[in-house]
């Protein structure tokens, strides 16, 4: 409906729209450029995003969560960004270490990886991992030794799963940060992991953070999905939502 709003009313309308939206709306301008506060905020958000990529997950978190820590073929952050292929593979020595130190052939292998946001791991794992483990235990699934991978890409779960001979793998990995949040985590899942498994065979839950899917709720959701993957012996497109049995027949 067309109304003649006063400037004050228009401000109110704009505020209401901006409140419901994480975008930088109605921030104004100074000539053809952004205003100083806008520019500073943008730079600050960009800084947070860069920090998420370049920082490391603390030893404290790895210890508290009782994760077995390993590293991919990547040597440092620069190489991590330049060589995604190396972030998907582990050395023979690491493979041997995993085989010797971790439970072999579990039904579910849990992996946490820094990925592109160590911040996401720090923020979400303490709430997500325990409820996920509880949920898997409650369903009687055999969960192996949880592993932490430094410089990991999603597909490193194929290599680790294959070496450990897991029935299925879940990798909880920091997402590429944006300017709205640098705390977002994804969970990728695969049934019957082996090197070279196509992406289509992988199931994903993304946008796990306080402003998206809360980590604790995500943990319970992943437990449910993993149970179904083990039951149907499938993941990814082979486990399409249409086949999921929710409706009572």
């Amino acid at each position: 409906m067309a109304t003649n709003n006063s400037p004050d009313e228009l401000d109110e309308v704009l505020d209401r729209i901006a409140e419901r939206n994480p975008s930088r709306l109605g921030v104004g301008r100074a000539g053809s450029r952004p205003r100083t506060p806008t520019l500073l905020e943008f730079r600050s958000d960009h800084g947070v995003a860069r920090d998420a990529v370049h920082s490391h997950v603390s030893d404290e978190l790895i210890e508290t969560m009782e994760l077995f820590a390993v590293q991919t073929l990547v040597e440092d952050k620069d190489e991590y960004l330049a060589r995604p292929d190396k972030g998907r593979e582990i050395s023979e020595a690491t493979a041997e270490l995993l085989r010797d130190s971790c439970q072999r052939a579990p039904q579910v292998q849990l992996i946490v990886a820094d990925g592109l946001s160590s911040t996401a791991v720090e923020r979400n794992i303490p709430d997500l991992l325990p409820i996920l483990t509880d949920g898997l235990d409650q369903r009687g699934l055999d969960v192996g030794t949880p592993v932490f991978v430094t410089y990991g890409r999603v597909d490193v779960m194929d290599a680790i799963g294959e070496e450990i001979d897991a029935e299925c793998c879940v990798i909880l990995i920091g997402e590429r940060p944006g300017l709205a949040t640098a705390e977002s985590l994804s969970a990728y899942m695969v049934y019957g992991p082996e090197r070279g498994t196509p992406t289509a065979k992988k199931t994903v839950i993304s946008n796990i953070h306080d402003g998206g899917l809360p980590p604790v709720e995500a943990g319970a959701e992943i437990a449910d999905l993993v149970d179904e993957m083990c039951d149907k012996q499938a993941s990814g497109l082979d486990l399409t939502s249409a086949d999921r049995e929710f409706a009572k027949d």
Partner: protein, 487 residues
């Protein structure tokens, strides 16, 4: 090129609305579009477009006696209307039966509502209550949407045969309701004689010393004055406080304690739709064509509103506002990740007790809080008899693993001490945490059939119905409603 999404049976719900009112009974059939909303990872299904595809004829509500509705004949009308709409009861996914106005006070209103709800569709719910009626009328008439779109405060005044139910909406939705025992059918006229003067009308008449009594010849001038007095009570209820003494006596439920600035009024309902249409000076029609006070009351309302400088606007739906509201606005959808015992569904008419916000309650006091909730539940209701209760939780506090575990442990311990085993228990949270809380509770409450749903707000005194999950989804339709008969 136009991209057309594949036709999906699950993307629409067929909904029925049935209104059995003081004067009239009618039915509408609507299609509700189910759409995905929210950010990725936390998507939620929501009801989007609501299209009314069939408006049934208006029937006179059949009565056996002034105190009892003829359930059989109401059911016949409904069957005939559904047949005319080309809809079989089994095609109906959801909807609501609302027993409104004076009919809600008849002796058999409650069984009537439940019977109609059970017979027509898999998840049609029974509702009653003046406040709910007021809100549904405002939603059905489009007042709620108009208030949101124009960013104004709108009073939707639904004037029917027995009651006048006002709901006030602003940009964010309903603010409050103001309901009065004023309506067109409180007075009956036939063959030039007064045939009915229901108690509320009699009180107004006495207050104004109009000396009206049943059996006497109709005095149009006196009845106009009665209508004017009733209309002034309606407007008084909108403008107050302070309220006229008689307004307070005729109010249904409490009236708000603070006055409110209203930008415009929308009149709906059988009498409301005549407001602005009917004036004695221009009408050649008989003011008693409906054998009641309706036209005179409508005329008086228009005049009184104008005298009080209130702006009156018209929207598309008037007569059928409540029934359309019942058919299109009662059903809501839960969050997507929930924990349901689908063997239990549908669950009907579960009384709700709210635990309120737990955010400020620390671990040591949680068990006591839940114990109070469960002991209230068992004191107020025979929980076996009503099929369980629903516990609402406004806010759990921080959504951390530790906090959820504290809540689950306390809940289980309180349940164990205060609530009989094997009786269903439903938990409704406003935060998105049903699956996590459900998992933690399932491990600790093995003796109870448990369902946890989220992203819905419920309050003590309301009732909850939960339908079966939508096809290919983990979302359930849910209705939070009132069931106030004989208010």
């Amino acid at each position: 090129m136009v991209f057309e999404p594949p036709a999906d049976a699950a993307s629409t719900l067929t909904s029925v609305g049935i209104d059995v009112g003081t004067t009239t009974t009618h039915l509408v059939v609507s299609e509700l579009a189910v759409e995905s909303a929210g950010v990725s990872g936390a998507e939620k299904l929501e009801i989007g477009d609501r299209t009314v595809c069939f408006r049934g004829p208006v029937h006179e509500t059949p009565l056996l006696t002034p105190e009892a509705v003829d359930i059989e004949r109401v059911a016949e009308h409904i069957d005939a209307d559904l047949a005319a709409a080309g809809v079989a009861p089994e095609d109906i996914d959801t909807g609501a039966v609302i027993v409104t106005g004076e009919t809600a006070r008849t002796a058999n209103a409650e069984p009537l509502a439940h019977q109609l709800a059970d017979e027509n569709g898999s998840f049609v719910v029974a509702t009653a209550g003046a406040a709910l009626e007021a809100i549904l009328a405002g939603q059905g008439a489009g007042s709620a949407t108009h208030a949101a779109d124009s960013e104004t405060t709108i009073a939707n005044v639904d004037v029917g045969g027995g009651t006048t139910n006002t709901a006030i909406f602003d940009v964010d939705g309903v603010i409050e309701t103001r309901c009065l025992n004023v309506g067109g059918r409180l007075v009956g006229v036939a063959d030039g004689k007064l045939t009915k003067l229901a108690d509320p009308a009699r009180r107004v008449s006495e207050k104004h010393s109009l000396d009206l009594s049943v059996g006497k010849p109709v005095d149009a001038e006196k009845l106009s004055r009665l209508a004017a007095a009733m209309a002034s009570l309606v407007i008084d209820s909108l403008l107050g406080p302070p309220y006229n003494q008689l307004t307070l006596q005729l109010s249904i439920g409490p009236l708000p304690k603070k006055p409110l600035e209203v930008d415009a009024i929308v009149f709906t309902g059988g009498v409301g739709r005549l407001v602005g249409e009917y004036t004695i000076s221009t009408a050649s029609a008989d003011p008693f064509a409906y054998n009641d006070l309706g036209p005179l009351l409508a005329e008086a309302l228009a005049e009184t509103a104008a005298d009080s400088q209130l702006s009156v606007i018209r929207l598309s739906e008037d007569l059928r506002a409540t029934v359309i509201g019942a058919g299109t606005h009662t059903t809501r959808l839960s969050g997507r990740t929930i924990c349901v015992d689908s063997e239990l569904l549908p669950l009907r008419n579960l009384p709700v007790i709210s635990a309120g916000s737990l955010a400020e309650i620390d671990d040591s006091a949680l068990t006591a809080t839940f114990s109070t909730v469960f002991s209230q539940a068992t004191r107020w209701y025979d929980v076996r008899d009503v099929g369980g209760v629903a516990v609402g939780i406004e806010e759990l506090g921080e959504l951390s693993y530790d906090r959820l575990q504290e809540v689950a442990v306390s809940f289980a311990s309180a349940l164990n001490d205060n609530y009989p085993p094997s009786v269903p228990i439903v938990v409704v949270t406003e935060q998105n945490c049903a699956k996590a809380l459900g998992q933690l509770l399932e491990a600790r409450c093995v003796d109870w059939p448990l369902t946890v749903i989220d992203e819905l707000a419920v309050g003590t005194g309301s009732y909850l119905d939960i339908g079966e999950p939508l096809t290919h989804s983990e979302t359930v339709p849910a209705v939070v409603k009132t069931l106030v008969f004989g208010e």
